[in-house]
Symmetry: C2
Subunit: 385 residues, 2 copies
């Protein structure tokens, strides 16, 4: 079997365990590390810890648990996060200060440290560099995810691989997600940080499942350097491609989702304006339910764009619907030309694509989301109990 994500990167080994709701992943890889974190004012304990530790920039490993977010747990939670890094450090024989820590799960609950100790001990024994090891790690961080998320982008000279979890509480400005990315490219920390920020902005920050921003979002990227120096522009592109693949997987696996929705906004004044409109449309419950019902109620798209806060001339816009193969115009330069029967056929598949031309500039952006279904309600109506 060939590795499909992080274990394809030279210098990275991993494993994981999942017992009911409680999972633990351990990834060993040494190198400069950059991170991006949730913008929620209420930050989980591991986020607070990581925001300090990332400054030093060098990580040897990452430990991540699922089932308990260790968020809104005060001083004790912070100490628990530190303890997690010590547990990983002891298991792997490394300095705990160089261990990345992440958590996902229920907010307002303390970690079960003895469980983490036991799980980490078990996982450390099995850490390896196979396809099954990386899959165990990806599965260990899942909460309501229905499949593990993997991505690998390879060039002649270097590669970027990643695993991620998403599912609920996914909103503009980082999905509720953990993402652990690795590359064998040799790249300095400043460039790594810039590349990760840009890639995050164009991928994870453009995924909306339900408009909530988590307390625990984190994306880390470690560069092991094994492949030597690389072209920085090429590295940015490859990292972004890898992040976009994970972002799309997160969107497609949104809680209760049956369809992936992709919204591309064209001819915007600038990229941020395009992204803002795309996120407003993808975040609209009315658009999401219409996609679920395969109802080409395109007026809701125009209405969502109109409330995004971005200025444009509603009478100049164009709008298309497509499924990746076919593409039908709904509005052309403000003129309604919707053939609702054709539009409806474009909504039958697993992917529904909307393109909106704002006729106000040259920039574009894409956002991803999913439909809103009865199953989302069911999943989230009984989460803690």
């Amino acid at each position: 079997m060939t590795c499909r994500s992080i274990c394809a990167i030279e210098g990275v080994s991993a494993s994981g365990i999942k017992e009911g709701k409680n999972g633990l992943a351990l990834i060993s890889a040494s190198g400069y590390t950059a991170g991006v974190f949730t913008q929620n004012l209420v930050k989980a304990a591991p986020i607070e810890l990581m925001q300090e530790r990332i400054k030093k920039g060098k990580f040897e490993a990452v430990i991540a648990n699922s089932g308990c977010a260790n968020a809104y747990t005060g001083k004790r939670g912070y100490n628990d996060a530190v303890r997690m890094s010590e547990i990983a450090g002891e298991s792997l024989g490394i300095d705990p200060y160089h261990v990345g820590v992440a958590s996902t799960g229920v907010i307002g609950k303390y970690l079960d440290i003895s469980l983490i100790e036991r799980q980490c001990c078990d996982v450390a024994k099995n850490i390896g560099r196979s396809e099954s090891s990386e899959t165990l790690a990806a599965q260990a961080i899942m909460t309501t995810d229905t499949f593990p998320k993997h991505a690998l982008v390879e060039t002649d000279t270097f590669s970027v691989g990643g695993i991620a979890k998403g599912s609920g509480m996914i909103a503009p400005n980082m999905a509720t997600m953990l993402a652990f990315l690795y590359t064998d490219a040799k790249i300095n920390q400043k460039q790594l940080k810039q590349a990760l920020s840009q890639a995050t902005r164009r991928s994870f920050n453009c995924v909306v499942v339900d408009g909530d921003t988590s307390t625990n979002d984190i994306a880390l990227c470690t560069a092991t350097g094994e492949a030597g120096h690389v072209n920085n522009t090429e590295f940015c592109t490859v990292l972004e491609t890898c992040c976009r693949s994970l972002a799309q997987q997160i969107a497609a696996d949104g809680e209760g989702a049956t369809k992936l929705i992709e919204v591309t906004v064209l001819s915007a004044m600038n990229e941020e304006a395009a992204a803002t409109v795309a996120r407003a449309v993808i975040g609209s419950s009315l658009v999401k339910t219409a996609v679920y019902g395969e109802d080409p109620n395109w007026g809701r798209i125009v209405a969502a764009a109109g409330r995004s806060g971005i200025e444009f001339d509603p009478n100049a816009i164009s709008l298309w619907i497509g499924d990746g193969t076919n593409r039908y115009p709904l509005v052309m330069s403000g003129e309604i030309i919707a053939d609702l029967a054709m539009a409806k056929t474009a909504m039958k598949g697993k992917k529904v694509i909307f393109e909106i031309d704002l006729a106000s500039g040259k920039e574009k952006a894409t956002a991803w989301g999913c439909d809103l279904t009865e199953r989302y309600v069911e999943i989230n109506g009984r989460y803690t109990t």
Copy 2:
């Protein structure tokens, strides 16, 4: 039978008709009129027309249809809105320029003017001042509403009465709603406008059903003056009380709702900050589904407050849950003291109340919303078809 809303106001007569999805309400009342309108960039034709006409300030009647929003319909839509005012003017023998026009329903569809002509003619014949007339008007403007919304607040000297429709596409900065308010108070147009703006800010703008802002929102208030001059402060309070009653009815009747959610934010830096936090919590799909499932997942409330953009110290806040009769603390000054079994009992009824003390000032605000249910998905998955 006693009138319960607009027909209790001296000088107001009304009626309405509802045929399938297509309804038409006609209200006759002469006086200074103030209006507040949707902040969506994409404004329906009647909104554009009203924003011009409201400047003159005197209305003689209002005509409102349901079933077609006359939004995103361009020049033809604008002419249709003008035509609606002419139809009402002809039926009532008044200058069409003094007729208020409102629409609600599907976006991107042209009005059926001949249907409106016929319905208006029928309705005009039955216009009256009884409880059944005002109910017919309130029913005529319903879309997915399950009950007509009425409110009446009476003082010794004057009264304010209103009808409204809400249900879906209900978000901060005006619900998807039409609200027609009447008072017999004699009040000048400037004061009326200020009073309506403040009342709207504290009522309709604090209702969130699904985070979408409609293209058609409108609230109009006409003062017939029959009761003579009144105290302005008292008028503001009474108008606000009437609007809050309608706002709560709209929230309780949100699409698919089974429970009314009320969020009061206390000890905020200012009223706007309090309202912003309250709306973020009430708009959270995760909070809404938790309430539906009677799951006291209070971490989601803290997380939603944290992403509202308002600064506060998460470790100083307090949080209560209640049902209007009992009230249980979940967090006190940052300390988790949640008794989840007790909290769960507070979620059994038709109304769930959260109170959040931000410990950062002296101001407060309340927002209303509803739970998110499978039924919401069902209603909105097949709206146009």
